[in-house]
């Protein structure tokens, strides 16, 4: 049995940062709209492909990030206003619809980008490695870690310091009551759908640079996101952060120390947490 070293711990943390970016959007949609958005993984992958193409075409990584966020936010708008709006309140239909959207998006991606593996090109300043504490560590992965922390802070401020944030939190608690207060909850739903989708798109481009993009990458990220939201509790930002840290670290520990049990190392603890806290660590009824 191998033991962990600093590089592997950092790998776990950077994976956690990426997973947090993706799962934070997932948990907001799950918590507020009460939808398990099974298209979230497909939005991640589609965002990654968009980011890949724009970065390749313009040579500008930041433009790739922005384009993937905007385009996937637009997809979020279409999914919410064009599809989910008509089945609101019918949970099974909503979930099946998002699953259908996932299949369609993946097929469209397959038509456009084919089945090859791509990697988003990263800018020169983020290439190479940084030396510290006696190790060389990829600069880009440290950037991902920093970005994950930045996204957490930005989302925390949005949720806790703005009126839209208060409405989203209130909506997670009791959407019907928010509506009875004179707020058009559909607009809050739409804003959250677009925000959540844009985070999936951002994650796609960020992750596409170090996990690469290929036709089944969406389901892997979706399974991780689900585990994170279930562990952290739906609708909780702090829950998503803690869940992402747990899943990121457990995944790394699993791969290093118990490679043949890698998935069990994630889902075993998840089951244990659910046994004692059915709503997740930070979830509320």
């Amino acid at each position: 049995m191998a033991s962990l070293n600093l590089v592997q711990i950092l790998n776990g943390l950077t994976l956690a940062a990426l997973l947090f970016i993706v799962a934070s959007g997932f948990t907001l949609i799950f918590g507020l709209l009460r939808i398990v958005n099974l298209a979230h993984g497909a939005l991640y992958l589609f965002g990654g492909y968009i980011g890949y193409s724009v970065t390749l075409g313009t040579g500008n990584f930041v433009l790739g990030l922005v384009a993937s966020m905007l385009f996937v936010a637009f997809l979020g708008l279409i999914i919410d206003q064009g599809l989910l709006r008509f089945v609101r309140g019918f949970v099974l239909r909503e979930v099946l619809l998002t699953l259908g959207v996932a299949f369609v998006l993946n097929d469209i991606a397959l038509v456009i980008w084919g089945g090859d593996t791509f990697s988003v090109q990263i800018p020169a300043m983020l290439r190479g490695a940084v030396r510290f504490a006696g190790i060389y560590y990829p600069t880009y992965r440290l950037f991902v870690l920093g970005l994950g922390i930045l996204v957490f802070i930005a989302l925390w401020l949005l949720l806790n310091r703005t009126r839209l944030g208060a409405l989203i939190r209130a909506g997670v608690d009791d959407a019907e009551m928010v509506e009875a207060m004179g707020i058009n909850i559909r607009r809050v739903f739409l804003a959250t759908s677009m925000l959540g989708a844009s985070l999936a798109g951002l994650g796609g481009t960020i992750g596409g640079a170090f996990l690469t993009l290929y036709p089944t990458a969406d389901s892997e990220i979706l399974v991780f996101s689900l585990a994170i939201v279930i562990i952290g509790g739906s609708g909780s930002l702090v829950g998503a952060a803690v869940g992402a840290l747990l899943v990121g670290m457990l995944n790394t520990i699993g791969q290093v120390m118990f490679p043949e049990l890698a998935y069990f190392v994630i889902f075993g603890p998840m089951a244990a947490i659910l046994a004692f806290r059915p709503l997740g660590l930070f979830g509320r009824a």
């Binding site: 309140g89 019907e176 509506e179 004179g182």
Partner: protein, 234 residues
């Protein structure tokens, strides 16, 4: 004026309101009495146009305008506020956020945070606490304060005295009576006849989804026997 005529509401196939009718005039405090399961909350939810129940027949008008095609936020925009059964505060919002989610804290028109706090000084002391950290009485104050922030002309209150200590119930009665005097219409769902009598101008008794009795509070104060029959109180 709120006018409900021959309202039939359903939860799925369950026919809950069987032609309920009532009116609330401006500045009038109207109590809706009835035992559990008689359709009082269903009537409130129907007026507010919440997703359930479904209104299949009858009219619902407010100042002459039909409420039936509206969504709840559109009803609220027409200055009808809801103080729901069980308070339904937002567990993750602070007291202050409950009041500022609709209006910026600096807003000066109509009901302001300061005005709510002067009515309920206890809430001012607790403004940083979350909804789920308050006592029962404080929760009810906040539920009323939150409703006032939409500058209502009519408040629908669904069993506000439920689960409160007697001293809090009295405090609430004073508040409701004071609000009524400011010209606000109040439709108050109550199980307790004496609480209702303390504040109401008129009373309706709802039984199995129908209004079976209407009386002025004054006449009931003089002779409670007719009402007791409907409420099953002896």
């Amino acid at each position: 004026m709120l006018e409900v005529r021959d309202l039939h509401s359903f939860y799925g196939d369950a026919h809950v309101l069987h032609g309920a009718s009532l009116t609330v005039k401006p500045g009038e405090v109207v109590a809706l009495l009835g035992r559990n399961g008689m359709g009082k909350s269903t009537l409130i939810r129907s007026i507010m146009r919440l997703a359930q129940p479904q209104v299949r027949k009858g009219t619902l008008t407010w100042k002459g305008q039909d409420l039936r095609p509206l969504t709840p936020h559109e009803v609220a925009a027409r200055r009808i506020a809801l103080v729901p059964q069980g308070r339904r505060l937002f567990a993750s919002l602070t007291v202050l956020e409950h009041l500022t989610m609709l209006k910026p804290a600096k807003a000066q028109e109509g009901w302001t945070v300061d005005r709510v706090f002067s009515m309920f000084p206890r809430l001012a002391e607790r403004k940083g606490h979350n909804g789920n950290q308050l006592s029962g009485g404080e929760r009810q104050m906040l539920a009323v304060g939150r409703a006032l922030m939409i500058d209502p002309e009519l408040i629908l209150m669904d069993e506000p005295s439920e689960g409160l200590a007697p001293v809090m119930v009295q405090h609430l009665e004073t508040i409701i009576a004071d609000l009524g005097k400011t010209g606000l219409g109040i439709l108050l769902v109550e199980q307790n006849l004496y609480s209702a009598l303390a504040v109401a101008d008129r009373l309706y008794v709802l039984e199995t989804g129908k209004v079976v009795h209407e009386a002025s509070a004054e006449s009931v104060r003089n002779d409670q026997s007719s009402l007791m029959r409907y409420l099953g109180v002896h």
